[in-house]
């Protein structure tokens, strides 16, 4: 089972309306052979619609979809024959696990002996061998998910499409299956297109994440690049958590600028706008008012005085909400480093390296 036989997808200007609602607007996306791409966005952002358009169940009003350079919009779903894992799995309730996974092979008229062999291999790949004789209703959620996956990959499709494959499972199982799915992808080398609204899942598994909102692509890129260099407030907010600081911007030398609000000022790297996005885990918190500043941190570090509004210990981390001139700022400290936890009402000093912040265009909060 190798994906060497193609599997590169191109979406060009794909647009889909349902009555008056525009579900997908002008989506253009290149997916390379063997890539693991996640479409990430809030509910109703058009993720499933895009996936179903690729699978052949939704006909776009405009645009083109190509597989290895050949247009496929004219083909019915059964001729595109991508492996699809549906939201809720859609296992055939009247067939056993083996029956479900064998069905695509039966449709192709593959002889019995070969069918048996490929069935066993597919079940092996998702570690379902012992459950072959069970019916879907006798399986746990995670097992059902694996059956759906085996049914989608047994006929060696060039592309596997997954619609929220893990959303119905509990958190721990979800993380286990993310790792499994990723490993399977690496073994098969098949192109995977995954739809999710879980940013953690997208970051754990994907080579590339495509962020969608209201039917449009906002930004796409490798998980790290997106996380560290979001291009908009929506992306910064949706992928992980972020503080947004706004104020008066005045230029400094060396591509730096100063953001001022009330009596406080911080240094930022000049960017596309005047809204400073700052990841909470980049901010350190220590008791304020103390004069024992460690030597050696120069102008490359910002300092901001404030007062602790709340401190929450959640095991690995301590979450501080600190009231400052820039408004309330969330800071996350690893709990082992949070020296003598600060409590509500304590004076605090926040600090972060200048390069930790990104300037974004101002836009209304989502």
């Amino acid at each position: 089972m190798s994906g060497a036989s193609g599997g590169a997808l191109s979406l060009r200007g794909v647009t889909k309306d349902f009555g008056r609602t525009r579900a997908v607007e002008d989506v253009t996306l290149e997916i390379a052979q063997g890539e693991f791409v996640s479409l990430l966005g809030p509910s109703g952002s058009g993720k499933s619609t895009i996936l179903m358009a690729i699978a052949g169940f939704v006909a776009p009003e405009r645009g083109e979809i190509l597989l290895d350079g050949r247009p496929i919009l004219g083909l019915p779903p059964e001729q595109r024959a991508f492996g699809v894992v549906f939201q809720g799995y859609a296992l055939f309730p009247h067939m056993t696990v083996a029956g479900n996974v064998e069905y695509p092979l039966k449709l192709r008229g593959i002889p019995r002996a070969e069918r048996r062999e490929r069935l066993a291999k597919a079940l092996d790949q998702v570690r379902l061998g012992p459950l072959a004789g069970r019916y879907p209703r006798q399986l746990s959620g995670g097992q059902q998910q694996r059956v759906a996956l085996a049914r989608a990959l047994v006929f060696e499709p060039p592309v596997i499409l997954l619609d929220e494959p893990l959303s119905a499972l509990d958190k721990k199982l979800r993380v286990d299956l993310q790792i499994e799915l990723k490993a399977l992808h690496e073994r098969l080398g098949t192109t995977f297109v995954n739809v999710t609204h879980d940013q953690e899942e997208a970051m754990n598994m994907s080579d590339r994440i495509v962020i969608l909102n209201e039917g449009r692509i906002l930004q796409s890129g490798a998980p790290e690049a997106l996380y560290n260099a979001p291009a908009s407030r929506f992306v910064a907010d949706f992928l992980g958590r972020a503080n947004f600081l706004s104020g008066e911007l005045s230029p400094l030398a060396d591509g730096l600028a100063r953001l001022t609000r009330g009596g406080a000022a911080v240094t930022v790297r000049a960017g596309a706008g005047s809204l400073l996005a700052l990841r909470p885990e980049r901010i350190s918190v220590r008791a304020g008012g103390a004069a024992d500043r460690p030597a050696g941190d120069g102008p490359a570090t910002n300092r901001l005085a404030g007062r602790v509004a709340s401190a929450v210990f959640n095991g690995a981390q301590v979450l501080y909400r600190v009231e400052t001139d820039f408004g309330e700022i969330l800071a996350i400290e690893p709990s082992f480093r949070a020296e003598g936890h600060l409590a509500r009402g304590d004076a605090a000093e926040l600090s972060w390296p200048v390069e930790a912040g990104v300037l974004l265009p101002e836009e209304p909060a989502p």
């Binding site: 169940f57 019915p76 024959a81 699809v84 809720g88 309730p93 449709l107 989608a152």
Partner: protein, 275 residues
């Protein structure tokens, strides 16, 4: 707590007891030849008498054919209702329901007018030169089947429709995505998934069909005698009450057995349409 409420149930219990269970028990007693004697000869007659046997055979055959035809047509109508647009669904529901509200007598007579020798259909067919002589459409088994199917289709449509609206659309999509053409997806996935409902609807129609009286009496024109008409004639004309009682008991027990069978197979709540 519950005691005062038991009093409210009493009138209903009394009514059912007096008006239903008592006569039923009396009927059962009659069927054994009571009070004059006690014996099973009337039950024996059901197996041995050629007249009764042929009547039972006719009943079974007609009801079976009616059930199958009603299921096929009902499945199509229910499918259209479940998967076409909102307007078509309303139209179809109306078409199915309006005859449902008419009295069974009016419907049988309407079919008679439509299908008889010089009825509307035959006039049209001969007038258009499509057939030379009028077709024999009523006063035979065909007429009975047409009338019964027409009456029973709603009983097939509604359970089927209810089941179809709960079928997950993604099942058929999943079949297509792995390579099934639409027809294959329909026969491999859609039909099996709705099979319990087909079974339930079939038994429902069959049970109603067994007890049919007015439709066969009118559209059969006295030539096609089914169970209910036979019982009625036994009671009202030939005065063989004991034989009628025995047949009634057999009918009752078969229906109970059928309901029990289905209740076991698909669950009673689903059969009654409440779950």
């Amino acid at each position: 707590m519950t005691r005062p409420y038991l009093l409210f149930v009493l009138p209903a219990v009394a009514l059912v007891g007096l008006m239903f269970l008592l006569p039923l028990g009396w009927l059962a007693a009659l069927s054994f030849g009571l009070p004059e004697s006690f014996g099973l000869e009337h039950y024996e007659a059901i197996v041995t008498s050629p007249g009764i046997r042929s009547m039972l055979w006719t009943t079974l055959r007609l009801v079976t054919i009616t059930t199958l035809v009603s299921l096929v047509l009902g499945y199509l109508v229910a499918f259209a209702m479940a998967h076409l647009g909102e307007t078509q669904r309303l139209m179809l529901t109306l078409f199915v329901l309006v005859p449902f509200w008419l009295s069974v007598l009016a419907r049988a007579l309407a079919w008679l007018i439509l299908l008889r020798h010089n009825g509307l259909l035959n006039e049209a067919l001969t007038g258009a030169g499509l057939v030379e002589r009028p077709l024999q459409l009523v006063r035979n088994e065909l007429g009975v089947i047409i009338g019964m199917v027409h009456f029973l289709i709603p009983y097939a449509v509604f359970p089927l429709f209810a089941a179809m609206t709960t079928v997950d659309r993604r099942l058929v999509m999943a079949a297509r995505s792995v390579g099934a053409r639409p027809w294959r997806a329909f026969t491999d996935v859609y039909v099996p998934v709705t099979l319990p409902a087909i079974f339930g609807a079939g038994v429902l129609v069959f049970i109603f069909g067994l007890g049919f009286y007015v439709t066969p009496a009118i559209l059969g024109g006295g030539r096609v005698v089914m169970l209910s008409e036979y019982i009625s004639v036994s009671v009202l004309q030939t005065l063989r009450w004991a034989q009628a009682g025995a047949l009634s008991m057999v009918l009752l027990l078969s229906v109970i057995a059928l309901v029990w069978l289905v209740a076991r197979a698909i669950g009673f709540r689903r059969l009654a349409g409440v779950g």
